[in-house]
């Protein structure tokens, strides 16, 4: 008879089970942000200004290989001249404890408006990117990233 039997927290279940939830599940059940929290953050920055699609290339994996460090590449289409440049780019996560992930400020001297970073994702969720142009217009793009348990690959 086996005697020592660990009791699992959610965190451990994930770590020990054959199909351990990647990063995500590892986060204890905090209150997660949601669509509304992200919308509220954007409203704080830009009020109710309309947002257009296009111009943003949001390059993320469909499935996170490691939820602790999910790569994200952003590129905004812009001539980046004094007359027409990208001023700021913000990234939000709908399913993390905090909606804000990162914000970048650009000047025409940057030459191009692109950035790459890694973010931690607590679970499968949408990533929202908002770009503010020098003329005040806003663009947005959205991408879903799946955070999975893994294992079982044939």
């Amino acid at each position: 008879m086996l005697t020592h039997l660990p009791t699992l927290s959610r965190r451990d279940a994930v770590k020990a089970a054959a199909w351990a939830l990647a990063a995500a599940a590892i986060a204890p059940r905090l209150a997660f942000a949601d669509e509304k929290a992200v919308a509220a953050e954007i409203k704080k920055l830009y009020g109710d200004k309309p947002m257009a699609s296009g111009k943003i290339k949001l390059d993320v994996p469909e499935i996170a290989e490691n939820g602790l460090v999910v790569p994200i590449n952003i590129e905004i289409e812009s001539p980046m001249t004094e007359a027409d440049y990208v001023k700021a780019v913000h990234v939000f996560a709908e399913g993390n404890p905090q909606p804000g992930v990162v914000s970048y400020q650009f000047t025409p001297a940057c030459g191009k408006a692109s950035a790459a970073t890694r973010m931690r994702l607590a679970q499968t969720q949408d990533i929202i990117c908002v770009a503010e142009m020098s003329n005040g217009t806003l663009h947005t793009a959205k991408a879903n990233i799946k955070v999975t348990i893994g294992g079982c690959g044939g």
Binding site: E62, E65, K146, C152
Partner: protein, 565 residues
């Protein structure tokens, strides 16, 4: 019982032939069961180049039995499309007569009686015979031999030699190039060590090192064959870091990387490639989608999902080939190039019937030598089986039931979880369960059988997650493999529902009670992707169970209720 040698003359299944009118890819000889090596090799050659493809051999040096799936569901746009056809539907689609050699090789019903008639399939010495015969016929300078990966893992000898036995046989076979998946579970250092010395190219356009985002392996290689340039681009399993322990190759990132693949195709064309081949380990449905999005690939040699199809699947200007697994088949493609472009492709899926093909003596000698250190261990009989033991099927396999039973009894657990691996041989009723048979179903580098408590809610979460990995309607979210196998618990699954609502009706089988989401259950399982998992290796758990039981009988498993298919 008919001896295996006699199958050439066998007529035992002839009565069944009247049931189907098709002649299948092997033609009349196969339907009439007078199949010979010449029938298997028969091919009207054409064009400048012959490509031979093997995939998912899973380190099976010797001929074996491998039953194809009875349940292999497609979802979304590919529902009901090949390769998601089984048994009668499969035979009807590919015009194969019931009871024929093709029916035995490619479908699952009537497997036991046909297996006794037709014998085992595969074996590197038989594959060598076919490859050498085709090289002799076409000329060495016209033949390209490609391996889709999952070659270095799946047997006791490959585990003990860290893949060296398979590297040696594939080198002897004069392999030109391969791509990879399970190879990476030997660890990054070992893979790099092999690749540096290998006589063949190891290609993967979709692996990057994390720090610099640079390619880890060459993405492609251009071969000149029959006066034609052929570019072979490698595509490793995009989900390797999710499907297998990431800590074994911590510096690498995978992914499908469509844009980079498109660039590879364009660069290859710019270099003058008349033929662009994707040597892929994506899995069939992923490659079918990829073929509709990445332009300019002539041939995708698929792997990973272990599908075997005796016909090409066409997507736009791209053809897809599915060459099966475990050495059961070798695909041959003769390609005619005209004006620098592919003009015609002729294809045959050659079944490797061990009793019809004379073993190549050089390869047979090498295989015997490589297995010699383990031969006595491998042959050791642990018990016997009264039931057919097999692996493939979306929801369960009787060999997995055996593994789950072993975990429940040997680890004193209420519920057992066994991964839905698609590799591992089949055993016929009455056959011995040898150490080789046990390790053919379990030989991995992370074998520890853990024991722990999980709540009912956690169990459901695992089932939902794995189900989404198989039944997500977008193939790019499918990782391959079958559903996790469960011992001691039943459930219902609606494969057509979205993530989070496919699984219901979890039942503790012993008590007949519903699984309580908040109660903790003692769970045993193996193949954890986490570093430092504690517990005995699974092969010892299975061995102890078989030794204690002596004769294994597996009852039909109806614990999983499937709908939405």
């Amino acid at each position: 019982m008919i001896s295996r040698r006699e199958f050439l003359q066998a007529t035992a299944a002839a009565a069944a032939l009247t049931a189907g009118s098709g002649l299948g890819p092997l033609g009349r000889a196969a339907a009439q069961q007078k199949l010979s090596q010449a029938d298997i090799l028969r091919f009207q050659p054409q064009g400048q180049i012959t490509i031979l493809h093997v995939a998912d051999i899973h380190a099976q040096l010797m001929p074996l039995q491998f039953r194809e799936p009875a349940v292999n569901l497609g979802v979304g746009e590919v529902k009901g499309l090949p390769p998601h056809l089984t048994d009668a539907a499969f035979r009807e689609h590919f015009k194969i007569a019931a009871g024929s050699a093709d029916a035995f090789a490619l479908t699952s019903d009537d497997f036991v009686s046909l297996a006794r008639n037709y014998g085992r399939m595969g074996g590197l010495d038989r594959i060598a015979t076919l490859v050498k015969a085709i090289r002799a016929e076409r000329g060495d300078d016209k033949v390209l031999l490609l391996d889709g990966g999952d070659t270095w893992q799946g047997s006791w000898s490959s585990l003990q030699t860290k893949g060296q036995d398979m590297v040696d046989v594939m080198s002897a076979l004069k392999l030109d190039a391969m791509t990879s998946h399970w190879e990476f579970t030997l660890g990054a250092e070992r893979v790099k060590e092999i690749v540096e010395k290998a006589s063949f190219a190891f290609l993967a356009q979709n692996i990057r090192d994390k720090e610099w985002n640079e390619p880890v392996f060459p993405p492609r290689k251009v071969f000149e064959k029959g006066g034609v340039k052929v570019a072979v681009i490698g595509q490793a399993l995009p989900r390797t870091a999710v499907a297998n322990p990431r800590w074994m190759f911590p510096e690498w990132e995978f992914g499908i990387r469509e844009d980079e693949l498109q660039k590879q195709v364009e660069e290859a064309r710019a270099e003058g490639a008349a033929i662009v081949v994707l040597l892929s380990h994506d899995g069939f449905d992923v490659d079918r989608k990829l073929a509709s999005r990445v332009k300019g690939i002539d041939v995708i040699l698929t792997a990973h999902t272990h599908d075997a199809m005796p016909g090409l699947i066409r997507v736009g200007d791209t053809v897809l080939v599915a060459s099966g697994s475990h050495g059961k088949f070798v695909s041959r493609l003769d390609i005619a190039v005209k004006d620098g472009k592919v003009a015609d492709i002729r294809f045959k899926l050659m079944p490797v019937f061990a009793d019809a093909i004379a073993p190549d003596s050089e390869m047979a000698t090498l295989v015997t030598k490589l297995r010699a250190p383990y031969a006595a261990d491998l042959a050791r009989e642990i018990g016997r089986t009264d039931s057919l033991l097999y692996r493939r099927g979306n929801f369960n396999g009787s060999f997995d039931d055996l593994i789950c039973d072993a975990m429940l009894t040997q680890r004193d657990a209420e519920i057992a979880l066994s991964p839905g691996f698609r590799w591992g041989g089949s055993l016929l009723p009455g056959e011995p369960i040898t150490w080789e048979a046990i390790t053919n179903a379990t030989a991995i580098t992370y074998p520890n059988c853990y024991r722990m408590e999980m709540t009912g809610a956690q169990l459901k979460e695992i089932l939902e997650d794995v189900a989404d990995n198989i039944f997500h309607p977008d193939p790019y979210f499918q990782g391959g493999g079958d559903m996790v196998r469960i011992g001691g618990m039943g459930y219902a699954i609606d494969v057509g529902k979205p993530m989070g609502s496919r699984i219901s009706g979890l039942t503790h089988l012993k008590s007949g009670k519903p699984i309580d989401a908040s109660r903790k259950y003692v769970v045993a399982g193996w193949a954890s992707v986490n570093e430092g998992t504690q517990g005995p290796p699974i092969w010892d758990v299975v061995r102890d169970h078989v030794a204690a039981t002596r004769t294994i009988t597996i009852k039909p498993n109806d614990a999983v209720k499937v709908s939405g298919a």
